[in-house]
């Protein structure tokens, strides 16, 4: 997936002290999956929601005594835009890979109740990553499959729909699990 050409940018500047507002702002920006273009300049692909999300962060910055601005911009070359999209995709890929590793660890836990709790947490984490994923890397599908596989151990059969996207699959045979494969 390539960029559409238009980006919404946030310029911001916060006093170094107190540090609490700075970390709060940076946590929000991280959660939104912004790409850092330079110091105090971050961006997201432009859209009604991304623009609003950054506008609220700008508000938070000014409430905390800093300065902020929102800009709509187009990268001057496709190559420049490509760098942004690749940076974002790579950041998400790293997150998806960490999630897959976490599901592998969780699948070693023998207690079904504990695993169910882990499935819930991992699903929430997966969704959080997907919400800030604008240029999905291949790792996205692996992560979805890994979380689903974890959920299937030992699943009871539920109602199925064919060719589902969020597939609810019947319980897998122990032999499949032993093979160590995720679908």
């Amino acid at each position: 997936m390539t960029g559409s050409g238009e980006w919404v940018l946030l310029t911001y500047r916060l006093p170094r002290e107190p540090s609490t507002p700075r970390s709060a702002v940076w946590r929000k920006l991280r959660k939104l999956g912004v790409v850092q273009i330079s110091d105090g300049l971050v961006g997201l692909p432009a859209g009604a929601r991304t623009r609003e999300q950054l506008e609220w962060v700008a508000e938070e910055v000014t409430d905390a005594g800093g300065t902020a601005g929102i800009w709509l911009a187009r990268p001057a070359t496709r190559a420049q835009e490509g760098k942004l999209t690749q940076t974002m995709a790579a950041a998400r890929a790293t997150e998806y890979q960490a999630l897959v590793a976490a599901t592998a660890t969780a699948s070693e836990n023998a207690d079904p109740a504990a695993r169910a709790g882990m499935v819930r947490r991992l699903r929430n984490e997966l969704r959080a990553i997907q919400r800030r994923d604008y240029f999905p890397p291949a790792d996205r599908d692996h992560a979805e499959a890994a979380v689903q596989s974890l959920a299937d151990i030992p699943a009871t059969h539920r109602g199925t729909t064919r060719r589902s996207f969020e597939a609810v699959r019947p319980a897998r045979e122990p032999a499949d699990r032993a093979a160590g494969e995720t679908q």
């Binding site: 009604a48 929601r49 609003e52 506008e55 609220w56 700008a58 508000e59 929430n124 919400r131």
Partner: protein, 143 residues
């Protein structure tokens, strides 16, 4: 009275408009603006950065309006939890209904304009109110 908010409304603004019309100003008229500078002088702004009736202290605009107008109906606060999670998604509340409601509003905004979204979503929130009221009375999800 006139009330102004930004164009391309999503769940917080749709919910606020319903709340305003139902519980604050039955004759409310809504104006959608592109730029905060376009808010008419006689209109009360909501869900616009910088306005009083918008996001403050981690609240979404729906919650802010409840606080500013002293609306302490627990059913409205149950709805606030759903709207908050749909809009801000920060796990402040446990609101499993949030994604579905959010997605319906997103779908409406794909094909409909803002006034139409208000017209169509009003009954949805009326229903959600009834649903939440029943759930609170029963202490569980109504069946």
């Amino acid at each position: 009275m006139r009330w102004a908010t930004r164009q391309r409304i999503h769940i917080d603004r749709a919910a606020c408009a319903w709340l305003i019309r139902r519980h604050i100003d039955h004759d409310a008229e809504f104006v959608f603006i592109a730029d905060p500078a376009d808010v008419p002088a006689d209109a009360t702004a909501f869900d616009i950065p910088g306005a009083e009736l918008s996001h403050h202290a981690g609240d979404c605009s729906f919650e802010t309006i409840l606080r500013r107008y002293d609306l302490d109906d627990p059913v409205l606060w149950r709805i606030a939890a759903i709207v908050h999670e749909a809009d801000l998604d920060d796990q402040r509340y446990d609101a499993p209904e949030a994604p579905g409601l959010d997605v319906v509003l997103r779908g409406l905004s794909i094909t409909r304009g803002d006034q139409e979204i208000l017209r169509l979503s009003g009954p949805v929130f009326d229903g959600i109110y009834e649903y939440c009221r029943r759930a609170l009375l029963l202490g569980r999800e109504p069946s």
